[in-house]
Structure formats: structure tokens, C-alpha cells
Symmetry: C2
Subunit: 341 residues, 2 copies
């Protein structure tokens, strides 16, 4: 089985975006505030949006199951206040749950949180609990910068975030550390902010002893870990200067990287430098880079091709495709086992 | 000849740091403000600080000439106002010039600018002119985020920066795009902020048409280009989505990467993915990562070993070591030619 641990619902019916735009408009003019019940998306519309997009490409490319979360760039936690994010997250998470119910063989949900800049992350717990207990979510997306590029929340190692971690540990769910749209004109969302956040999150963990407080906490760093594997020597050296243990001890029991790196040399470096047990297959399809690479004739984000061509053995490939995801997402593993998979 | 295009004066005599601390103290209590003349560092002290550090390691490792600029993390443009930065930059640039005068075979200076958050970059021109015309500087370091991690200046593509670019083009000098200390607790200075800035600067150029306005403008992106080469497929794909020309046309006539990547797989990827004519040898020695890699038994930042082992031919190695630096730094080339080199 091939599990793609990083897919977002980027193809939701247009009614979702229209509702969100109305919600945003209501921040200036409360009289136009939409009700949750105003958003009507039928199962047929959901099916159509998936069958003609993600599911079609999954079948073409040969992946089986996607861990599916709301569109990352649309989380936009910086918009409005906690109530804004709370309503929006509930809507988006419900849609992903419905997709997973419609295609239980192919999608399993992960939740966005109703984060809001300057608001205690503890406020996210009820949505998290609902998504795990009622919707069957197997993981969450945690935004280390709900401001959208102003980076004014404390680092991930700060106790500020501990209420989320306590719940993650209780449920044994990992968090993908994933920012959303940048509203800072310095940072292009998918070309700079996403990658910077990945690097930043890793370094926040490296300088801290977070995983001493939470030995079973697990973070999945997307986009191949940002700049981290390419600069693995730098990070090993910095850990050494900071008198931290070897990274294998200090971080790699808790931090994992996905394979959203859109060319063969990048995946070759990732699989060479990072232990295979820390790498989870992912494509972020349909996501930031949707075109066909003229150098190969294939989609940039058809990352399975790179994994197939990487210098790893079949057992290692199986770990990247399935084994590691089942270990990092125990609730996914449990669901698969109930199906005899 | 082996030219290291990225060295900072990280080993300056302690009197420099003491003077700076006094200057910082005077921001709260003007009565303790130090005079420039209070700072006394003799030629012997300069010689000692270089001979026992950078020059010793250059001889051990086999590099000949370092393009030498003030310590990047000490630029700290976020401290004080323009006058603070102006005085500090003048002191630091003078010291690098003196080092170059004491060791003309081995060091040639590049200037820091007296940038200050929210201040028109035009104010940096007099220091730049002095450094080029009187001190023989062959390049500058340009900080895209003088706030130190708050990223509230416009992107490098904004006309805000054009006065600097006009002077760079007039003098035919490149800028290394290099941030300084992060005062944002989210970003570790050398483990996150530096690499993020490299990626951010590249993407700011990618989304813009800056090099249409300045076809001869040259940026050197340090630390191996941050996350860029590792994600080269992503950047090619993003350029394609944005209807930009191929990166070779769009950016690689103007953007260059150094080799400050501290392990063999990183350098292997860099030299495989980025055209060799866009790669300049550098080590940033003595810099962020000073230890010995237990996996190799050699210093992490002894980057010449990685270039020696990379799968490139002697002509390509010569381009990385010398040829490209002479092309990107024409004023360096001119100096070398006057010496018959």
C-alpha cells in the first residue's frame, strides 16, 4: 500500500471559497455575515471534486490512501479572531471528514486547528477533540506562525504550545508543522514561507529540550524538511556546538520528513542523508506546483517516480511508502488493521 | 588560485566588541557614549587575530585569498538608529580594510552597509562610495531584513532598494545578500534566519522582474542558496506557474550561490543541480560551525574537501575556485591582474 501523508483539499467546490469571502467581508460589515448553514455542498459535488482531481491522479500515479487535511493556504489563521478561525476550521474539517466517508479506501482526515494570533492554543482543544473522537482524524496540522509571516508567536518549544502537545500525546497523533498563507510581502507563500517555516521549526526543536518533556510527541516536517537535509552537516555541527546529543538521539525519534521535494536530486539527497525510518511518502498533490517538468515530461509533484528511482532497497521503499506512516500515525494503522490491511 | 568569497572578521580583537557594547549602552544612557577615537587596535593586534585564526586555517586547507567583510552577526542593523549603524559600519569596514592592507595577498575587503530599519537605503551610499573608492572594497553585504527577523522592509525587488543597485551597477560590484543576528526568538540566527533569508531573497527575485531593470546587477546568495538548490524542482515549477522564463534565463545571469554547505551530499547536490558557472567557492570560516565532523574527522566548514570530492572536472573546479569569483567580482579581478595574477 502507498500512503500519501500530505494532501490538502485544494479542489473544494467554489461555494466554500465564496462562503469564506463572505465571512471575510463580514469582518468589516457584520451585517453580511454568512451563517454556517448558508454553505451547502452536496455529496455529489464533493465526489466530483475528488474523483476528477486527487483520486484520478492517485490512480494514475499508483498511490492508495491520502491523509487529507483542509487546504493549507486557506487556513489563513491571521484573518479575523478566534471565532472567525473556529467557524472556518469547523467547516473545513467537516468537509474533509465527509470526503473520507465518501472514499474510505482512499482518504483519511487530518485536522486544521482554529488557531488565531495571540490566542491561547488551548482554545483549539475542543475542535481537536471533535475531529479525533467524532471524525476519526489521525493527525493535525499545527501552524507555528498563525500571524501569517510576522512570526510573533513563541517558538514551538515554548510552554505556550504544551496544551496542544498534551492532547496529541494523549491521542497518540502527530502534527504536521505547516504554516498558511503569508500576508508578509517579503515571503512568497509556497516558495519561501512554507520552506522557511520547515527550517525554523526544526531549529526550534534543535535548540530546545522539548522532546525530553514529551518523549512520544511526533512532528512531521513537510516539504522534505525545508532546508534541513541539504544543510544536514550544518545542523549536526550546530547541535554539536550547543552540546546537544547527536541528532539521531536528540530529534529523530520525534521528527519526520515528508517527500514533497519536486526533483530527483532532492529526493536522492533526502534518502541519503536522513535515516529511511524518518521519511514518509507524500506529494502534496494537488498543491503548489502543478505543472509538468519539461526536463522529465512528468508532473513535478509526482514524487513516487523519484522514490522509485532512489538508491534504496525494497524494504526501505516499503517503509517510506507505508511502514513509517503506520508507525507515525498509529490511529491510521488501527483503522487499516480493522480492515484487515 | 583558490578564492574564498565568504569570510567575516569574526576574530577581531575584543576591544571591538567592548566598544560596541559601550555604544549599545549609550542608547539608554547617552553620557556613556564612546568616541570613535576611544577604540584603539594596533596593527600587531590585527595581525595576531588573523595569523592565528583565518590565515592559519587558509594555509592548512589550501585557500589563497578571502573576500573579507565585517562579522555578519555583529552588523545587527536593528540596534539603534542610522547614526548608530553608520558609526559602527565605518569602524568595522575600516578594520577589514586594514586587515587587507596588512595581508594584501590573502584578504580583500567587502563592505557592510549602515542600514537601519525604516531608513532609506540611499543613506548607505556615502559609506559604500568610501569603501569602494578609498578602501578598495570589491563587493558589499546587503541585509534584506535590517529589522533582524521581523521582515518589515520591502522585498529586494522593490524600488526602495534601487539607489543601492544603481551604485552597485555603476561600480560593477556584487552584493552578498546576508542578514545579521535575529532578535526574533522564533529564528535561530545561523540555523534558521540565515537560511530563510537566502531562500526568501531568491524567491523575491523569482517573482519579480528586477533583473530587467538591472541586467548587470549581481547577487551572491550565501549558505549554498538556503533551501533553493534542494528544492530546485519546486522553484522551476513555481517559475513556470508564474509564466516566468526558465530560471537559467530569468535569474542565473544575475544570481550566484556560494559553497557554504557543510557536508558532502549537500555539495554534491549543489554542483549537480546548479550550473557550475553560478557557484563560487566559500567556507564562511571562521563562522557558524566551527567543530570537527565526527563522521569525517575534518572540520565541517572545510568545504574545499567537498569540492575536491565532487563529481566535477578540473575546469569546473577551477571555475568554482577562481574563475567565477573573478567574473562576479570584476574589481577583484582587476586587482589580481595588476599583480600579474
Amino acid at each position: 500500500m502507498i500512503i500519501d501523508c500530505h494532501g490538502h483539499y485544494t479542489t473544494a467546490p467554489k461555494a466554500l471559497e465564496a462562503w469564506r469571502n463572505q465571512q471575510i467581508a463580514s469582518l468589516k460589515d457584520p451585517s453580511v455575515a454568512p451563517k454556517v448553514a448558508d454553505l451547502k455542498i452536496s455529496d455529489d459535488e464533493l465526489r466530483e471534486s475528488i474523483e476528477s482531481n486527487q483520486l484520478k491522479l492517485m490512480k494514475q500515479r499508483g498511490s492508495d490512501l491520502t491523509i487529507f487535511s483542509p487546504r493549507a493556504s486557506f487556513m489563513a489563521h491571521h484573518i479575523g479572531d478566534f471565532q472567525t478561525s473556529s467557524t472556518w476550521a469547523a467547516i473545513c474539517n467537516e468537509l474533509c471528514m465527509r470526503v473520507a466517508c465518501l472514499f474510505p479506501e482512499h482518504f483519511i482526515p487530518a485536522a486544521m486547528l482554529p488557531q488565531s494570533p495571540g490566542v491561547d492554543p488551548r482554545t483549539c482543544i475542543p475542535e481537536l477533540v471533535k475531529c479525533v473522537e467524532q471524525y476519526g482524524n489521525v493527525g493535525i496540522n499545527l501552524n507555528p506562525d498563525p500571524s501569517g509571516g510576522h512570526w510573533n508567536s513563541p517558538p514551538l518549544s515554548d510552554r505556550h504550545w504544551y496544551p496542544i502537545y498534551e492532547k496529541m500525546v494523549e491521542y497518540d497523533i502527530p502534527a504536521m508543522v505547516h504554516v498558511s498563507t503569508s500576508c508578509n510581502p517579503c515571503f512568497h507563500t509556497t516558495g519561501a514561507h512554507y520552506l522557511n517555516a520547515d527550517t525554523t521549526a526544526f531549529m526550534q526543536c534543535l535548540t530546545s529540550d522539548l522532546f525530553k518533556d514529551f518523549p512520544t510527541l511526533k512532528f512531521l516536517i513537510p516539504h522534505g524538511g525545508g532546508a534541513v537535509p541539504y544543510h544536514w552537516g550544518r545542523f549536526r555541527g550546530l547541535a554539536q556546538e550547543l552540546k546537544k546529543p547527536l541528532l539521531s538521539e536528540h530529534l529523530l525519534k520525534n521528527i519526520f520528513f515528508d517527500t514533497c521535494v519536486y526533483h530527483q536530486p532532492g529526493i536522492d539527497l533526502l534518502t541519503k542523508v536522513i535515516p529511511v525510518e524518518n521519511i514518509l511518502f507524500a506529494s502534496e498533490m494537488i498543491g503548489a506546483v502543478r505543472g509538468i517538468d519539461p526536463e522529465t515530461g512528468f508532473y513535478y509533484d509526482d514524487t513516487k517516480r523519484y522514490i522509485e528511482a532512489a538508491a534504496i532497497n525494497p524494504e526501505q521503499r516499503h517503509a517510506i511508502y507505508e511502514g513509517n506512516a503506520r508507525r507515525v500515525f498509529p490511529r491510521l494503522d488501527a483503522v487499516l488493521k480493522t480492515k484487515g490491511l
